[in-house]
């Protein structure tokens, strides 16, 4: 068994690869000690190799992991497996977002990450959903259904939130504001894609790829480019780590 664990800022993801297939995957909240969480998750498996990735990868290396790779490389590996030859990846995680460009063999050619702040990340969407009293699920659906669009100008989470509050107070419809929040994230991602350069198709990974409005808006910003979402977008990194283990 090859196990990949992705110790993210919000969740720990695990993927188990038996050499031919993905046989199991799990997701759990990171909690205070993500490496403990991860250790528990893998305890049930007789692992051959454990590869850690994500924010807590070095912590894991000190405890149970046999090898460590960055999220960038893990996502590249995971996406190349699911969509062989795919040249570009957008990954939106809890704490950061990244754009990765790959060569024909699936090796990382270049990458970009968002800067320090939370804007353009899953966390940003969560905060905004909460301030509009939506669950994350409803949030994407409502935004998708909005018929009209307003604009959020601020890129900073704190300022954007006060912008959202003032929109609420001006009586703007909730789903329109939801749409505006999604648009601001999509603009950020499109900006990163333009800076790095992308070609067709673009794979969209990370938990935020399950949000239908985000997928839709990303497509709209790249006319003529296919946007591919893996079956299990959250575990792309964990799967990539597990696959990396086959070569360790």
């Amino acid at each position: 068994m090859y196990i990949g664990v992705d110790l993210g800022s919000r969740t720990v993801k695990m993927a188990v690869w038996d050499g031919e297939r993905l046989v199991e995957h799990r997701i759990a909240a990171s909690g205070f000690a993500p490496h403990r969480q991860a250790e528990e998750m893998i305890a049930d498996y007789r692992a051959k190799v454990v590869v850690a990735t994500g924010y807590g990868r070095h912590l894991a290396a000190g405890h149970f992991a046999d090898a460590v790779i960055t999220e960038i490389r893990a996502h590249a590996r995971g996406i190349s497996h699911e969509f062989p030859g795919c040249p570009t990846i957008v990954d939106v995680g809890g704490q950061d977002s990244k754009v990765i460009s790959l060569d024909a063999a699936g090796r990382v050619r270049n990458f970009q990450m968002n800067d320090k702040c939370a804007a353009g990340t899953g966390r940003f969407l969560e905060i905004m959903a909460a301030s509009l009293a939506y669950t994350l699920e409803e949030f994407g659906q409502a935004a998708l259904a909005a018929d009209h669009e307003v604009q959020i100008n601020s890129m900073c989470t704190v300022f954007a939130e006060s912008e959202v509050i003032s929109m609420k107070n001006r009586g703007i419809a909730r789903e329109q504001i939801a749409r505006a929040v999604h648009s601001s994230v999509a603009d950020r991602l499109a900006g990163m894609l333009a800076r790095l350069g992308h070609s067709d198709p673009v794979a969209f990974s990370g938990g935020v790829a399950r949000n239908p409005c985000m997928v839709d808006l990303l497509k709209k910003r790249m006319p003529g480019v296919r946007v591919l979402v893996p079956k299990l977008p959250d575990i792309t990194g964990a799967l990539g780590a597990a696959l990396h283990g086959t070569g360790v």
Partner: protein
């Protein structure tokens, strides 16, 4: 190895005499000592010649300050500068000492932010904060500061700094046409006149020739060190290389030159013996960009923490400081000053436009240093280096050089993200 903890020596009485905030400064001293121990003394396979430079850090707030004060007591000038465009040899020729006061510490930034806007370059804030908080003995010891007009952040800060310590400004042109170079030479002459006034003596041709020789020898020693770092595998860590380049800005030049050369002798022996730091197959990275002033070791710590090694700094605390020497054959004061200005104009700072020389130089240093990738580093809010990044990136794309751009300040908040980006970059190089 004995486990005596490294400590930066305390001289509270001398500090009080310099009107410093002693309790506060003492705390900073302990923190710096800890940081130094962790970053430097823990390195494996350090050359024995680093002991001198370790001591320069241990005595950073004592031994060297004593020398400065002794110089002042003899009526010789001690001048603080912030840029490698200020010609040190003129200060030296007048019997004085020139110290680089650039700030690389997060500790003094809050002091600056009580006065200056927050969104300006951290180097300017850190340096200014040292004066505002009275927490840098060098700043307290200088007779005056000679600033320049290289960037807006500095230019406008001088006006405020001048209320705390006399601050003069040299105009550095931003183009290199003949009329700009004429202005530059005139500015150099003004600088000389000011230094002479404070020193109470006229600089003779013999004085200047001797000073030029001292500075050229120092540059040659640093060039020698740099080319030894370029050897593959490299015999010394990038952290130690950077440290020496940083110490170059406050140490006595003749002694410093001797110690750098002695270290180079040792490094040559190491190369013969096949010593590789940290390991033979370590990934080699070159850094380009804005200066990393003491104690800014952020990028080097991150890169070398992963087992890679930095083999060159294309920076003012790096090659821009020592790559060019002054022509020693010039004669007559006029001719000598012209030769001096000629050399200074070769420093390819991003404040110049156009600045094609720098793009060429970055690629040349990449080749010379046998690096496998370039990390371009710009301090936050430094417009000229941030924008010049575009051209460096394009050049690297053209030459198929693995490239990573980092914009950062002195705070620790982006360490996690930087670590991921740097590791991913090294994975990309390592294949």
């Amino acid at each position: 190895m004995t486990a005596t903890p490294f400590e930066i020596k305390a001289y509270p009485e001398m500090w009080a005499g310099l009107d410093m905030d002693v309790p506060r400064f003492d705390k900073a001293r302990l923190m710096l000592g800890e940081m130094y121990q962790k970053s430097f003394l823990s390195q494996a396979k350090r050359p024995t010649g680093m002991a001198y430079f370790d001591n320069m850090i241990a005595e950073i707030h004592g031994g060297r300050i004593k020398e400065l004060l002794a110089t002042k007591a003899e009526g010789r000038p001690v001048i603080g500068t912030f840029c490698v465009y200020i010609p040190e040899e003129i200060v030296l020729a007048a019997g004085g000492i020139c110290v680089g006061l650039c700030g690389g510490s997060q500790g003094s930034v809050p002091d600056a932010e009580t006065i200056l806007p927050r969104n300006i370059c951290p180097m300017v804030k850190s340096a200014f904060g040292f004066k505002a908080g009275r927490i840098c003995p060098y700043f307290q010891a200088v007779d005056f500061v000679y600033g320049e007009t290289t960037c807006d952040a500095k230019k406008k800060t001088w006006e405020i700094l001048d209320t705390m310590v006399p601050t003069y400004v040299m105009e550095i042109p931003q183009l290199k046409r003949q009329r700009d170079l004429d202005l530059w030479l005139a500015e150099v002459k003004d600088f000389k006149a000011k230094v002479e006034e404070v020193a109470g003596r006229t600089i003779t041709e013999t004085d200047l020739a001797a000073a030029v020789k001292i500075m050229n020898n120092k540059r040659k020693a640093l060039q020698r060190l740099n080319s030894l770092r370029h050897h593959n595998p490299t015999p010394i860590s990038g952290k130690d290389g950077l440290l020496i380049e940083q110490i170059a800005f406050y140490d006595e030049p003749v002694r410093f030159t001797k110690k750098v050369n002695a270290l180079c002798d040792e490094l040559e022996e190491r190369i013969k013996a096949g010593v590789a730091v940290p390991t033979k197959n370590a990934i080699r990275v070159m850094v380009a960009g804005t200066p990393m002033a003491l104690p800014n070791w952020k990028i080097h710590n991150l890169v070398e923490g992963t087992g890679a090694v930095i083999v060159n700094e294309e920076s003012c605390i790096g090659t821009r400081y020592f790559k060019d020497c002054i022509d020693e054959n010039a004669t007559g004061m006029e001719g000598m000053l012209a030769a001096l200005t000629d050399r200074y104009k070769e420093i390819d700072c991003s404040c110049f436009t156009p600045n094609d020389e720098r793009i060429t130089q970055v690629i040349k240093e990449f080749r010379d240093s046998h690096a496998q990738g370039i990390i371009n580093y710009s301090l936050q809010f430094c417009h000229t280096y941030n924008i010049e990044e575009v051209r460096i990136r394009q050049a690297c794309e053209r030459e198929a050089i693995p490239y990573l751009f980092i914009e950062s300040d002195y705070s620790a908040e982006d360490i996690g993200q930087l670590q991921t980006r740097i590791e991913a970059f090294l994975e990309q190089i390592g294949g």
